[in-house]
Structures are given as structure tokens and as C-alpha cells.
Symmetry: C2
Subunit: 170 residues, 2 copies
């Protein structure tokens, strides 16, 4: 279950199969860790794997933005805190920050838009409102997330001009 | 080598280890396919693995935005076209579109900002200009990319209001 003071938390270690030839976590595998962290949030709002199957529900990622802030190496312990920045009856706007042993600030951040779907339709999955018990959990997580300092990496547009002051002092 | 009429192209098949319990490509593994496609572009501009090692160069992903447009299943053939939308002396702004057998439009799109780095520094990797032969290849890819129709998923900001008219008819 999620820690309601901080939002859902996911912990892991950078695995050997996730690193590139430099021994650093490959870009796509930051996203995999964020994906596992989103699963942890789903568990915490009552939509774990078993519930998703039995209720014929699922949650799709519509869009994800990721900022890569620091390289991290194989074997390093990592932790992701998942916040619910906003929600409506069918959607959650999430903010995820990855922290790693030996780094003071986040090593990556991600903004994601998730859509709740009914997987039981004859014509395929369709967007559907969260069930009442689930939306209640979503509201609790959103309220807890609102207590945290404002997120640093949201509302971003990619473009060359904006990137000049980016990481690595370039 | 890349096809200069279309930009670099990467082809693969949705692998068993990439799908979720529904048999669909998991969000993070779209990003892995895009990452392999970016490698294909690096090969095409003269920065393949061997060259990156011998020149002490690497290319880092600073930021990635991904739009998930359609679910795709295990075994489906996929193709990613990589465009260079813009560049400066050290950076490339890429646009990647993933197509899959049996779908008329793209199944996913991604915008990414890449940074060229010198990995040889005593104080760690530092942003560095592309070598002359490489920047020449980057320019050729950018010119070829400019001949394609405008990209559909660029300049995006995540937020609940914008998402209301999103996919799945919700």
C-alpha cells in the first residue's frame, strides 16, 4: 500500500540487464522503473493486477514525459515517489520523481497522463469512470501529493532554445 | 545505414518479454524500441558503438516525450522512422514515429532531445560539439527529415484539460 504522506513509493536496484555499454541505466529503463512505480500506485488505489482482472478494468498510459537528470550505475538503490497532481472521473495526471543512493536531487522525473478503461466491451477497451472506492483512494493520494513542494519538471515543451540551460553545464 | 529519403529506420517485432498481462506492449518498451531506433540514427550519422568508444563520445537523452496511440500485441512487426527536426552544434531534436502491421496511422510517437558528450574528461562527461564528419551527417538527416509532412505530436504539454479529446473516444 502507498504511504499517504508521500504518495506511492516504489523501490528497486538498477539491474544488470538495464544498463548500457557504459554501465549506466539506459533511457528506456528509467521509464520501466517509472512504469513499475505506476503499478505500485495502482495497487495503492485498489487496482492491483487481481482487481483489474476481476473488475475488467485497466489503466493505460496516454502520454509520458521524462527528464533525465543524472546517470546512475548498475547496483545503485533507487526509489520513486508517485504523486497524483490532478484527476478527473477517468484520468490521473501523475508526477514521478526517481531518487538514487549517492545523489542529493532527483536523477529523473516524469509526468504522465493515465486513462482508466473498461476492458469488457464487445468493441474493445473504452474509457470508463473510476469505481467509487477507487476514486476515493485517488482523491486521498491527490490530497497527500498536494502537501509536497511543487514539482520541478512539469508543463515542459521540448525545443532547442529551452534546452540551452539544461543539465551537464552545456 | 539510414535511408536518407525518410530518416533512419528501425525494424523489430514486439517481443514476448515486452508485453504485459494483457499481451500488449508495455509503455516502457515502446520507449525501448524508440531507444533502439535512436541507436540506428547514431549508426547512420557515424556514431555507432565502435566509433563512440574510439572517439570517446556518447549521446545522452536529456528529455523524451511519448504519445501512446494504439495498443499493439506480441509478435506484431513494427517500424520506427527517426527524423532530425532541429539541431545545433551539440544537440539533436528528434521525432520518432512507430508504425505497426495492421494499423494505418502511427501507434506511438516520441519527441526527444539528445546531447552529444565527450566521455574523456577527467571530471566526467561534458557536452561537446559534434565532430565535422558527424555534423555533416546530422545536417543531411535534418534536410531529409524536412521533406516529410509536419510531425503530428510535437510541442506537447501534459495536462487534464488538453487531454479531454484524446484517444479512445473518451
Amino acid at each position: 500500500m502507498g504511504n499517504e504522506e508521500q504518495g506511492a513509493i516504489y523501490r528497486d536496484v538498477v539491474r544488470a540487464e538495464w544498463v548500457d555499454y557504459n554501465g549506466h541505466l539506459r533511457d528506456a529503463f528509467y521509464m520501466l522503473v517509472f512504469s513499475f512505480a505506476t503499478d505500485a500506485l495502482l495497487d495503492a488505489i485498489g487496482l492491483d493486477d487481481e482487481q483489474r482482472r476481476s473488475r475488467h478494468r485497466s489503466v493505460y498510459t496516454l502520454e509520458a514525459h521524462v527528464n533525465y537528470l543524472h546517470e546512475i550505475k548498475e547496483g545503485v538503490a533507487i526509489e520513486v515517489i508517485v504523486r497524483v497532481l490532478a484527476h478527473d472521473t477517468k484520468r490521473m495526471h501523475l508526477y514521478l520523481e526517481m531518487h538514487a543512493d549517492g545523489h542529493t536531487g532527483p536523477v529523473a522525473a516524469s509526468e504522465q497522463m493515465m486513462l482508466h478503461v473498461d476492458t469488457n466491451g464487445a468493441s474493445g477497451p473504452r474509457a470508463a469512470p473510476f469505481d467509487p472506492d477507487v476514486i476515493d483512494c485517488v482523491r486521498k493520494h491527490a490530497a497527500a501529493s498536494a502537501m509536497l513542494p511543487p514539482p520541478s519538471y512539469t508543463g515542459r515543451v521540448i525545443g532547442l532554445r529551452r534546452e540551452r540551460s539544461q543539465v551537464l553545464g552545456s
